[in-house]
């Protein structure tokens, strides 16, 4: 009985210390989440204004010559960017993003994948660790795995620039980004977003009231050529910021659940500990009483 008591006591201590860790991780993620959300909000005015200018130009353009980024080609080579976090313990978050990337490989780009025509660009360690095992090393671009450590625009901008450059040169015919879309602290989706070629839908909802009599410098088409890469860069940046916020949201939820579970476990353990303790006391008492009775008798 005594050994059992000790075992239970040790388990209680261990569960308690685990709970302390999960609690701390939850707090840390909560504060990081707030910062990540701030980063998303502070990017928003820039992105909105950029889109507004784009709509202005398009609504004033006489004809749409179509940009090089919208060029639809037969899909031969594909790039899949997989944005995950560097660390685990965030529930199913990373798994879901990886699953979304896998789904692309298995269905939409199955033909290209079986011919080794799909490259993977993992950002964040978790995705890299996963794809390193199942995919030939030549198809993994591992230069940007560590990008996640600093998400300021100037730091990340080289990646979308590199992708756009390769797309223009015909190195890739389609680019997809799998990332964790941030809805709120409790809800994140893993999403596969079509990055290139630029889809036309962007250009349809043009309102006539935007038609101010603008001077365009240098001219509309040249401006579009400058604007679209800028918008794509911002878009790419927002994928990363979203994933970052999602990671912390997911971790917060996961750690909150873990802390709750630890509470439940502790209650059960305490109950069985007290039961065992009382049993031990009862049996000790009855031994003493029995012993005393034997002496008197």
């Amino acid at each position: 009985m005594g050994a059992n008591l000790k075992e239970v006591r040790e388990r209680i201590t261990s569960v308690k210390s685990t709970q302390q860790i999960t609690k701390a991780m939850k707090m840390v993620s909560a504060s990081k989440l707030r910062r990540a959300q701030d980063a998303i909000t502070s990017m928003r005015p820039y992105a909105q204004k950029l889109n507004e200018i784009l709509r202005n130009i398009i609504s004033n353009a006489d004809q749409d010559e179509g940009s090089a980024f919208g060029q639809e080609r037969e899909i031969d080579r594909v790039l899949i960017v997989c944005v995950t976090s560097n660390r685990g313990l965030a529930g199913a978050f990373n798994t879901n993003v990886i699953k979304a990337a896998r789904a692309l490989l298995d269905s939409k780009y199955a033909d290209q994948f079986s011919n080794n025509k799909v490259d993977i660009l993992p950002i964040g360690k978790k995705g890299y660790d996963f794809f390193r095992k199942g995919i030939p090393a030549g198809n993994i671009i591992s230069d940007h795995v560590a990008l996640f450590s600093d998400l300021s625009f100037d730091h990340i901008v080289e990646v979308p620039d590199m992708i756009m450059d390769r797309f223009l040169k015909g190195g890739y015919d389609a680019v997809e980004v799998c990332y964790g879309r941030f809805k709120n602290a409790a809800v994140q989706y893993a999403e596969a977003a079509h990055f290139l070629p630029v889809q036309r839908s962007l250009k349809k909802d043009v309102e006539d009231k935007l038609k101010a009599d603008y001077i365009f410098e240098p001219d509309q088409q040249a401006l579009l050529k400058e604007l679209i890469p800028s918008i794509l860069r911002t878009q790419f940046h927002s994928y990363l910021l979203d994933t970052h916020a999602s990671e912390h949201g997911a971790r917060m939820t996961a750690m909150d659940k873990a802390t709750e579970n630890a509470d439940e476990l502790l209650q059960d353990l305490k109950l069985s500990y007290n039961k065992a303790r009382q049993e031990a006391i009862t049996s000790e008492l009855s031994e003493i009483v029995g012993g005393a009775a034997a002496l008197e008798g």
Binding site: A39, S42, M43, P45, Y46, A47, K49, L50, E52, I53, N56, I57, S152, F153, D154, V157, A212, D213, Y214, I215, F216, E217, P218, A222, L223, E226, L227, S230, R233, T234, H237
Partner: protein, 83 residues
Amino acid sequence: MNISVLSPDKEFFTGEIDSVKVPGVSGEFEVLKNHAPIVSALNAGAVTIKKKGGDTLVFKIKRGFIEVLSNQVSLLVQGIEES
């Protein structure tokens, strides 16, 4: 005349100004009050803002856009460096 200078990371500056000089792709130009609506791409170079009251604010940019519409200037820039 109002300006908001936006970078992808933050809102860099907003406020009342008298004029702003920017490095447009077809030459540097200055925007004063009641400037005609314009959209222009910007080259790398220095932006000079004359704030209302006389202070000036100078910073370098890598690239960007400017839009002016009815005395509201929006400056979208990348790679701000204060000097």
